[in-house]
């Protein structure tokens, strides 16, 4: 391959477990880095995404900043991949979706026992939470999904190498997992 593919990654309302799973492909990272180079990613600490071939997004959309980052990825990435349960269906953060956001914040910061002078954080630097947590595909078009909580390193490896080889990515029994 003459030119390396540029890949960006980010974690929105996720736990970085999917990124840990990316790192879990271990020594296969070396052959992978023959084929790709990282743009914006927690691995490079580049803060904004330039034009990329592939974007990997972990986590759902739970606040205003997540929306901006996701739009930046969609604008810059030719192929956008939702990685992990939270990106695909909201996952654990979305388990608050049937609760009222105001009462969640009140309970956590004001009425829980043991809180001294509690107040709901209101620093202007903090992104405002959305009233519901959304899977990525409810906000932008997503091209591919890698399920799992997190997807195994083998699943990520199989998916990316299929994609880079120009094949339709398939996981198959043992690699496709929702848990």
């Amino acid at each position: 391959m003459s030119k390396k593919l540029r890949v960006a990654t980010t974690s929105l309302a996720g736990c970085f477990g999917c990124h840990m799973s990316i790192l879990d492909i271990d020594e296969r990272l070396f052959p992978l880095l023959e084929l790709i180079e990282f743009d914006r990613s927690p691995l490079t600490d580049i803060k904004h995404c330039g034009p990329c071939d592939i974007g990997l997004v972990e986590g759902g959309v739970c606040n205003a900043e997540n929306v901006h980052v996701l739009h930046e990825f969609r604008k810059n990435c030719k192929i956008l991949i939702a990685i992990g349960a939270c990106a695909i269906n909201g996952g654990l953060p979305a388990q608050r979706n049937h609760l009222d956001l105001g009462s969640c914040l009140t309970e956590v910061y004001l009425t829980e026992p043991g809180l001294m002078h509690g107040h709901i954080p209101n620093d202007p630097e903090l992104p405002l939470p959305l009233d519901k947590v959304h899977p990525l595909h409810e906000v932008v078009k997503i091209d591919y999904f890698i399920p799992g909580c997190p997807p195994s390193a083998d699943a990520i490896w199989k998916f990316l190498t299929d994609l880079i080889a120009g094949k339709t990515p398939e996981l198959g029994h043992g690699l496709i997992k929702y848990d």
Binding site: A85, L92, P135, P147
Partner: protein, 250 residues
């Protein structure tokens, strides 16, 4: 000489009175299904077992086998529809597999795996249906119900207890407990009931055994559902116990 029909080009023998799916499974040919259970009268509601017969789509669990039928099942057109059905079931309930005790033993999940469903693609409903933990030995999580009525059928037909029923219509249709209080503790259900064994998803759960088998070592972690459904189905064997119709299958 038994009468036969054709399924994806294979000759399937059948007994009078058998449905298409019964004959297919007995002959070692898998047709995806969810609400069909070999021990119960067919329900025909999940539509996962839909096949094409002479150009028309029908549920193979309710379609009586007839000589000379031309049945198509393992075709991309049908599998794409089956994928959509699984996706809609996932979007309609709260199927958060990472926190579900049934994960790895769940038929809906296993079908998703087998059909390579990577995501739901639909807008999730995130239902808010309160749990029923009133019974000392049994937990109900209604947020995972797919309305297959297997528990309803098992409780009335086998257990003779009528513990469960469906109520409402359309999108408001939901599983209820047949007690004045609506609570499971006010019924005579017990852990040994058939109704405890048939839930394909994680609605009816025995307490205190949730993770005795670790994730990763569960039923559908080992082998895909398409292989295991054939083990469960009554097979047609000759006097020597050999399965004559099952060429190429163990």
């Amino acid at each position: 000489m038994k009468e036969t029909f054709l399924l994806d080009g294979s000759t399937i023998p059948f007994e009078p009175g058998q449905t298409v799916i019964q004959a297919a499974l007995a002959a070692g040919h898998y047709i995806p299904h969810l609400c069909y259970h070999p021990e119960f009268k067919p329900h025909g509601s999940c539509k996962l077992c839909t096949v094409k017969i002479n150009g028309r789509t029908v549920a193979s669990c309710t379609m009586p086998a007839e000589a000379g039928l031309q049945v198509e099942s393992e075709i991309e057109e049908l599998n794409a529809l089956r994928r959509s059905l699984v996706q809609m079931l996932f979007a309609e309930g709260n199927h958060f597999c990472p926190s579900c005790e049934k994960s790895g033993n769940c038929l809906l999940q296993a079908l998703g795996y087998d059909l390579e469903v990577h995501a739901t693609g639909f807008r999730h409903l995130y239902p808010d249906r309160p749990l029923d933990a009133s019974h000392p030995d049994i937990l109900l999580d209604f947020n995972r119900c797919i309305l297959c009525e297997l528990c309803v059928r098992a409780s009335s037909e086998v257990d003779g207890k009528n513990v469960f029923a469906l109520s409402g219509r359309g999108i408001t249709k939901h599983l209820i407990v047949n007690a004045e209080s609506g609570k499971l503790s006010d019924t005579n259900i017990s852990l040994t009931d058939k109704a405890m064994q048939v839930c394909p998803v994680g609605v009816i759960l025995p307490k205190r055994v949730g993770f005795s088998v670790p994730i990763g070592e569960r039923r559908y972690d080992q082998r895909p559902i398409s292989a295991q459904a054939l083990d469960d189905a009554p097979r047609q064997t000759d006097a020597g116990g050999n399965c004559a119709a099952c060429e190429g299958t163990p």
